[in-house]
């Protein structure tokens, strides 16, 4: 209500209505009240002919008070021909107020809106008792209707102004660029976010030709989309737009046609999201991925290229060893010693290279199994026999607990790889303490269980999952060699067999690796053993 009273335009219009009505209806005084929907009170907004004292008394009127309050209560016009005779005023202070002002007769007509809702009250007052003629009452009806129209028009203008204000606030604070353009390619409006995208202040955008603001190359980029929106289509697109003011921007844009009241398309409204930063991040991510791919490809190609000469060297040294033999003395024994040592070095080299090749196969999903019936106990005993000497050199004795054959379908070469990795780790990190290898079968779950336990330096908690990833080693000790690929490959092999691997360890207490392998690998894995190409 406050805004109504303060609105001079509304008051002026209602004042004009009241003045005309008093004049035409031969009234002596009059006022117009507006209904406050919150308090249901009538509040005087304009008046004519009254002293301040009277206005103060009648400033706010509620149901049933006075003539206007009675009309408010009844929802219809009330006429009091003589207030001295009217039960409305009998024994009230109001009677004295009216008498002092010189009021004897009153009519109050409700002001209704277009949908018949009560907006206020239109009252005229007379110094002499009597009833206005029917003609006068009809004229008063017209004035009341006019007052209603004025109030409603004002209110809808006010609502429009408020929604425009809201829209402006939203537009000003939006992170999305918003702009309205005319069909002859001028900016009608633009918000700060759009100005930021365009790289120019709003004053240099609004009212200017689009091609001048964004540059002709940018305008050419958006032209096909603008043509579509000007044909009445809603258009959404993503584009790289080369703004004259801000350079190349990656945008998500949507256009909506802008119609005039006659339904003609006069332009379009654009909603523009700048995703340049996201696009740049995405490109960096793509580049990183590509770089990783290049690295992996390089490892793959390099390993394959190294493999052939290394194979020749390995076999040449193997043959050399056979030719030289172990016997002999003097220079002959030196040669045989060197040949043996060279052979061992190349063997280690070859194993490292095989690990690298396995990693590249795993990456492209080409690590395959060659399945066959085998006895795991035999493989374990064989392998322990093979490494026993190396373990003893470090002071570790290997105790095997494998009471029964464990028959199943596995890739024997890959099983050896698992055993070789776990045992060489146990020897490497076992601090020369005894190592235990246990093998058992869980009949219920049809699973073989291999345990390799050392009592060495142990693995910190935070490393216990990392050690199964690529290029990770539990210790950064430079004296312990390796690529950090062994356990990663072991896990891949175990999982390819449908099994699992876990580690339990405390610092300084050693580590227990447990491998569970199904006796028969799941069906999905077996096809790979048949793959030949």
């Amino acid at each position: 209500m406050q805004s109504f009273e303060s609105d001079s335009q509304l008051i002026q219009s209602l004042q004009d209505v009241l003045r005309s009505a008093i004049e035409i209806a031969d009234a002596d005084f009059g006022n117009i009240q507006l209904l406050d929907p919150e308090t249901s009170c009538l509040k005087i907004v304009v008046h004519q002919g009254f002293e301040k004292e009277w206005i103060d008394y009648w400033d706010r009127v509620s149901h049933g008070h006075g003539v206007c309050g009675t009309a408010l209560e009844r929802g219809e016009r009330v006429i009091v021909e003589d207030i001295k005779q009217s039960p409305i005023f009998q024994g009230t202070v109001a009677l004295e107020v009216q008498r002092k002002a010189g009021v004897r007769a009153v009519q109050s007509t409700p002001i209704l809106g277009r949908s018949d809702q009560l907006l206020g009250m239109f009252s005229t007052h007379y110094r002499h008792p009597g009833r206005p003629s029917d003609r006068t009452l009809r004229i008063l009806d017209l004035f009341a209707r006019q007052a209603g129209d004025i109030i409603e028009l004002h209110r809808s203008k006010e609502a429009l102004r408020e929604s425009e204000e809201l829209l402006r606030r939203v537009s000003d604070n939006a992170s999305v660029g918003l702009t309205r353009c005319s069909r002859d390619w001028y900016y009608v409006s633009a918000n700060p976010a759009y100005a930021k995208i365009a790289g120019k202040p709003i004053e240099q955008i609004v009212g200017r030709p689009i091609a001048e603001v964004m540059g002709s190359r940018a305008a050419d980029t958006i032209r096909p989309f603008v043509e579509r929106v000007l044909n009445g289509e809603h258009v959404s697109y993503e584009a790289q737009v080369p703004f004259a003011g801000s350079g190349l921007r990656y945008l998500h844009v949507s256009y909506t046609p802008d119609f005039d009241s006659a339904g003609r398309i006069v332009g379009w409204v654009a909603c523009v999201v700048d995703v340049t930063d996201i696009a740049v991040l995405k490109r960096m991510e793509d580049e990183l991925r590509a770089a990783i791919e290049v690295r992996d490809d390089f490892i793959s190609v390099a390993s394959h290229e190294l493999k052939t000469p290394l194979t020749a060297l390995y076999m040449q040294l193997d043959l050399l060893n056979r030719f030289v033999g172990t016997a002999g003395q003097g220079p002959q024994s030196k040669i045989s010693g060197l040949a043996r040592s060279a052979y061992q070095s190349v063997k280690v080299f070859s194993e490292l290279l095989d690990d690298l090749l396995d990693v590249t196969r795993i990456r492209v999903g080409k690590l395959t199994l060659s399945l066959q019936e085998m006895d795991l106990r035999e493989a374990v005993l064989e392998h322990v026999k093979f490494v026993r000497e190396a373990a003893l050199e470090r002071g570790s004795n290997i105790a095997v607990q494998a009471n029964e054959p464990v028959r199943g379908t596995w890739d024997s070469k890959r099983i050896n790889q698992i055993l070789s990795n776990l045992l060489s780790n146990a020897i490497k990190y076992g601090s020369g303490n005894p190592i235990e290898v246990r093998l058992s079968t869980n009949i219920g779950t049809e699973t073989a269980r291999i345990e390799v336990q050392d009592h060495g330096i142990g693995i910190p908690k935070e490393m216990q999952t990392k050690i199964f990833e690529r290029f990770q080693r539990a210790v950064s000790d430079k004296t312990i060699t390796g690529l950090g690929l062994g356990l990663y490959i072991v896990r891949q092999i175990v999982e390819l067999h449908g099994g699992s691997i876990a580690v339990a360890s405390e610092i300084g207490q050693g580590a227990l690796f447990t491998v569970l392998l199904p006796l028969r690998p799941p069906q999905s894995q077996t096809w790979q053993s048949k793959e030949v190409r």
Partner: protein, 128 residues
């Protein structure tokens, strides 16, 4: 053994590996012919008497090991009865599809294993 008879056909594109294999096998008294790829090998098989064993590399330029095995299988001269040992850098098995494949060795291979396999698989006993 006639002039042209021999024990082993080596099919391998890498010359150093092929020469090393030949040196090793000859040191054990076997007679060897060499081929640089599958096509070479086929023409040797067509010209000369059959060997007792074929050593076959898989990854070769020209006709590779698998294509060579396919040719043996469809060859009118029943060349697929000659035992084959695959020597490959890629650990894959061809056993399932080619019955004449006796073993798949991944490179590098030790001569101990190699000689053992030759002793077991050479089709014809050597006449010394």
């Amino acid at each position: 053994m006639s002039q042209n008879e021999y024990d082993i056909l080596l099919v391998e594109d890498s010359i150093p590996i092929r020469e090393t294999l030949r040196l090793g096998l000859e040191s054990e008294g076997y007679s060897v012919h060499e081929a640089g790829d599958g096509e070479d090998a086929l023409s040797i098989l067509e010209k000369l008497p059959r060997p007792g064993l074929i050593f076959l590399d898989l990854l070769m330029p020209g006709m590779n090991g698998m294509e060579f095995l396919d040719h043996l299988q469809s060859h009118p001269a029943r060349l697929d009865s000659i035992p084959v040992i695959i020597l490959s850098a890629v650990a894959k098995t061809a056993k399932a599809e080619y019955p004449q494949v006796r073993a798949v060795l991944s490179k590098p291979v030790s001569f101990d294993d190699l000689f053992e396999l030759v002793r077991r698989n050479l089709a014809r006993k050597r006449e010394r």
